[in-house]
Point group: C2
Chain length 786, copies 2
Amino acid sequence: MEGYTATGSAYVVVPDEIVGISSEEWLLRKRGFRRSARHIQITETLLTLGNGYLNLRGGLEERPPGHSSGLYISGIYDKSEADVEEMVRCPLWTDLTLWSEGEAFCLSGCSRVEHEQVLDMKKGILHRTTTYRHASGRILTLETLRMVMMHNVHLGCMLVTITPRNFSGSLRVFSGLDGEVCNRGFFEGEMLKHLQLEKIERGRHFMYLEMKTREQGIRIAEAASWRLVSSPMHQLKWEPRIYGERFTSEITIDVRKGESYSFEKLAVVTTSREVPEKEMMKDSICRLRSFVKRGVRAEIEEHVGAWEKLWKQADVVVEGDWEAQRAIRFNIYQLLINSPRTPTGIGAKFLSSEGYMGHVFWDTEIFILPFYIYNFPESARQMLLYRYNTLPGARKNARNMGYRGAKYAWESATTGEDVTPRFASKLERTIRFIYTGREEDHIVSDVIFGLERYFRVTGDEAFLFDYGLEMIFLTARFWASRVVDAGDRYEIRCVIGPDEFHEHVDNNAYTNYLVKWHLNLAVMLFRYIGKTHPDLLDNLAVRLELTGEEVDSWLEVSRGLKLSRDRESGLIEQFDGYFDLRDYELSRFDRSGHPVLPRGVTYRNIQSTQLIKQADVLMLLLLFPHAFSQKEIIANFTYYEKRTVHKSSLSHCIHAMMGIRAKKRLRAYSFFMKTALFDLDNLHKNTDLGIHAAAVGGTWQAVIYGFGGLSIKSDRLALNPWLPKKWRSLSFSVHWRSRAVDVTVFHNRVAVLIHSDEEENIPLSLYRKMYMVTTNMKTELPYCAS
Amino acid sequence: MEGYTATGSAYVVVPDEIVGISSEEWLLRKRGFRRSARHIQITETLLTLGNGYLNLRGGLEERPPGHSSGLYISGIYDKSEADVEEMVRCPLWTDLTLWSEGEAFCLSGCSRVEHEQVLDMKKGILHRTTTYRHASGRILTLETLRMVMMHNVHLGCMLVTITPRNFSGSLRVFSGLDGEVCNRGFFEGEMLKHLQLEKIERGRHFMYLEMKTREQGIRIAEAASWRLVSSPMHQLKWEPRIYGERFTSEITIDVRKGESYSFEKLAVVTTSREVPEKEMMKDSICRLRSFVKRGVRAEIEEHVGAWEKLWKQADVVVEGDWEAQRAIRFNIYQLLINSPRTPTGIGAKFLSSEGYMGHVFWDTEIFILPFYIYNFPESARQMLLYRYNTLPGARKNARNMGYRGAKYAWESATTGEDVTPRFASKLERTIRFIYTGREEDHIVSDVIFGLERYFRVTGDEAFLFDYGLEMIFLTARFWASRVVDAGDRYEIRCVIGPDEFHEHVDNNAYTNYLVKWHLNLAVMLFRYIGKTHPDLLDNLAVRLELTGEEVDSWLEVSRGLKLSRDRESGLIEQFDGYFDLRDYELSRFDRSGHPVLPRGVTYRNIQSTQLIKQADVLMLLLLFPHAFSQKEIIANFTYYEKRTVHKSSLSHCIHAMMGIRAKKRLRAYSFFMKTALFDLDNLHKNTDLGIHAAAVGGTWQAVIYGFGGLSIKSDRLALNPWLPKKWRSLSFSVHWRSRAVDVTVFHNRVAVLIHSDEEENIPLSLYRKMYMVTTNMKTELPYCAS
């Protein structure tokens, strides 16, 4: 294999045409450096790399004080000293420190000549260029690029080039595998230990670190090779060093002023879920060997190719709004690096950090899943399989609360048993008991909503038969045991709706409507499958001890469930008694446009007002677009929007979409940009703790469902698009029933191209009109968004 | 329970009469503070506390940069990433940090007004008084005293008093259990992880930490209570904090200028060797509860009482030489805090540090054991039981080398299998292959020598019958298979003698003579026991497949083993060909009195000279005082002393004793003081790495065997005393055959008092004369040390 030759451009073996930086609209640039831990960590979050199997935060290689570098592997949770099990921070393979004259080159300690990190979202590569001046006056340029492979999720690599600018002399280079990692604890500065060291081994050409989660005993193995590649004649042996749970190699080189020295680090990450425990080391070394043998160039080419394919499907192009375009790409990038490969849920912060402990909430099905359903149905299927696999946990949850059937956990992790922490420091820094785990039961139907949506779009009957029906019936059984028979009607008492300011409320409209729909769906399916696939249903009914009478009772509950829908005003009361609470309208906003609480209202007494945390009734109107009249939409949007504090990353995107429907379009665009820039602009001041996955999924929905106006209506695609003035066009592709549909929306027409193996005419609604679109032909259809 | 009231004197509940500092000759004072890691660690070593079960280094509570605080529990070894298994550094319970205005009070960072640590060796208590000035100008006095209980080895306590001198305000006090401990690695700065976190628990009144050795799975549990005791009205709740493997409690107090605040920490340390794994937490909390309930005062009283008893037996009083007296006390103190309670070997650095990885060498039987034999025979028995328990390992060692019987390991740890590391950085910083594990076979007979000496002094027949015979026979069998039949004689080839400068030598005189004696002892015992206890011998012979013929062959080997003893000159050649090596005499010394190597000699070529590392032939003359003539003693001392570099802590004490015998008395005293001050004066510049246990044991021997002239001659006590001029008298007590013997030596007479249950006359040799001494009566006998 050729060596990199350092000729100004860093990497000759992997030429620019492969790793070179893409055009500007694909880039996230972070220039300069601020020493505060929060700033360091925000940048780390934003520059995260990933491939669905793992995420690697964009931490600086020298790990300056205050850093929170991290690597997180999907589905690896551990409890140990934590209150509940949490996603585990895994060992890092990206550490690199350069020492000269007894002092390290570190951004926190050196003066900077120049520093920039650039995330190339098109290729999934993170670049860094830093020129720093050491206390001794020595100036050095460090260039790195790194990636975790998209085509082979266990591989990663880092290319490093070092150029001493104004000195010659000895330089010590350290790089290794760092198992000295802890999760954040509950209090500031606390650390929780989830991993224990199993093995450190060093060979002539490899380093190996194996750790084990303390509670569940899942092993994580990392192997790496590390060598100077710029002067292959001049091979330097590294010295192994063990620092507790950290392994590092030390190379001392005599560098010459102006010359560049390139290193290559190849890494392999596996867990004992994929590889038998006893073979992990052998397996890792073997993977590493073939990586080395094949060469980094070949792997990077495949990686870049895999990214190209992903973007071909998932890209959304907005002409005329550069800021929106870049923000949309950033959000889609986040979805691409978190696309599940195995049955796993997606946490509320993806795999980008430990926020919410990596737990899976309703965000997953309601906010995140749609992107995958329309773009990567196989990933959507994996997400739903996770819910199927956690049914035993959900059954335990129901039993623990004295109910029947299956109750999906408000916060779910390995088993699906509820892992909502008992306490949290909430707004205004009070430590409060958390009721969401006990009361926020709408999660149960949110999951089923996601499942139904998946089925409607993909038509994946096999999934429905093998897994879906069981999920639907068991959760329906839960609801039938959960509702209260109030004589003339059924009620659901003591819940929390999406708006978490109001706890212990009765008959939350969102919840009740969803349950009505859910039970009705269960009954319909039971009856329909009973006719079309009687054997299948029989088997299932025997297994679940499900009788016709029980199913009939569900229909009764569904019909009798209370819902307060004022025919006159069109207003839906969020829950019983909501309209009797002290009423406030929000009229003041702070500098970043956040609503300011009215005088006298605090987060301690807000429960007694009509102010709400986030979209609640509006959520309901959004999920069932064809069930509510335009009058109801406008009435409720107008009423609730004024009373919403948006203290949740789940709120803005809903208001963007509902704003469009309610024809408050300027408002809608503003909400949309808030969602799209949620983390890029650090809107809630906590991006250091991870990406807000719901806002990310909500951004995609706001574009496709909102501006694109896409929906499914009685089994056909429907479009009700509207474009902001400065958008010249909006293009996207979706999968629909094994067909790929390319859509470009202009202000007065849409161009549609439906790819299909067969020549056929497919019905498509555009506003009130129905068209037949011939497949494999670009069709332009006019519309008018009144 | 009363609270301490802070009235200048720190501890009112535990009054001065109990914990007050003893008179000056019992104290080791360390005043002032130097920032270098080496100085910090030397002090830590010297101020070590202990009780035989564990040692706790005298580290400062705030653990300044460069510290190497440590707690070591007897017999806990682990390999993991180390080359061979090593003694494990265990979690600490003595951490304490005080924070004010965002900065810690730390000796490294603050300017010092005053600082002193005082080890009270009489009571086994370490005191500290520090007044420091913080960056903010705040001045605070910290007083602590701590101890590990001698009467109940699992308990420890620390009393703390804090007095703000020139400020009032808020102070944050942290104290906990620190499991973030690693052993030193091979290279500078490396750390090896031997413990993994099992459990951290906090209750209202306790903290609990449980860790496990990674290889053998031994659990170590620590529990502690920590509270402010000076104002019991004003109980402050501590906040628990978890930092990975460290648990700490945080208390914030508002302190007032000039007032004192006292805290009390009670700690419990156990391992899964004493307590079943599953009960450890319950057991620890239970022990802690009764400690708290009984109160610290009662436990300290018992602790001090236990120390009083120990000193009553072990103290050696020298009148007229204050420096020698204090040094002797220091050495005896070290022996007292390492007195084994269970069958365990004693490592070459005791439990004071990780030097030599806590391994057990010949130092144990030849240098350290005699103190215990004469003072605490039960501890001596435990040490020998360790050797019995490691016979299976010793048999493996023999088999691995192709021999029969049992070969005690040069370096021994858990199992007795050889754990000598393969490489070490030796003198002149070269990394060399270590041959001691393969060749330094005299260890096998050293163990038997210790065993025989134990039996001779104690008369413990039960031990001999139950364990000793098996040890003697199996090791004799090893030698019979190890020797080479050279036709007219037997030889032992390719060994290392005590002098480790010369490797792969043949017929080392020390080794050969010891083996002669060893085989002869085996034969004698076999024949004698065969007559007195034929059944016992039969059983053993069957078990070991031992026949009369095999034993006869041992006698043949013993008689035929080569020994070069020049009748004319009296010189014994250290090994075959030694006298033919390049000859040098040492004549230059450095400032500390260390010999300087002659020009042209380095540690790389010293093997080709007659220069030796330490006493070798002289060792032989010392162990068998009645087997060599005065002429031989003088001839060999004169010859070898000039050629000895003393690059071992085992050398000076031998030269002290042999110097007395050879009548080089001034020389002898100088060697004695070198031994006695070996660590106090940091003679070999490595006291930071631990106490030199052989020098400690050698100090006691030099006093009792050397100046006291004690020996056993044909089953009776013999005294050949000589006192340095300035010593007015020397008093000591020894156990001999269940009798206590008090001896006071003056320049011209000795006073002897033999305590016994019976009235009897006991024979005693004093120089050439034999006296009958009546028990329970003080007898004065005149002598003249010509």
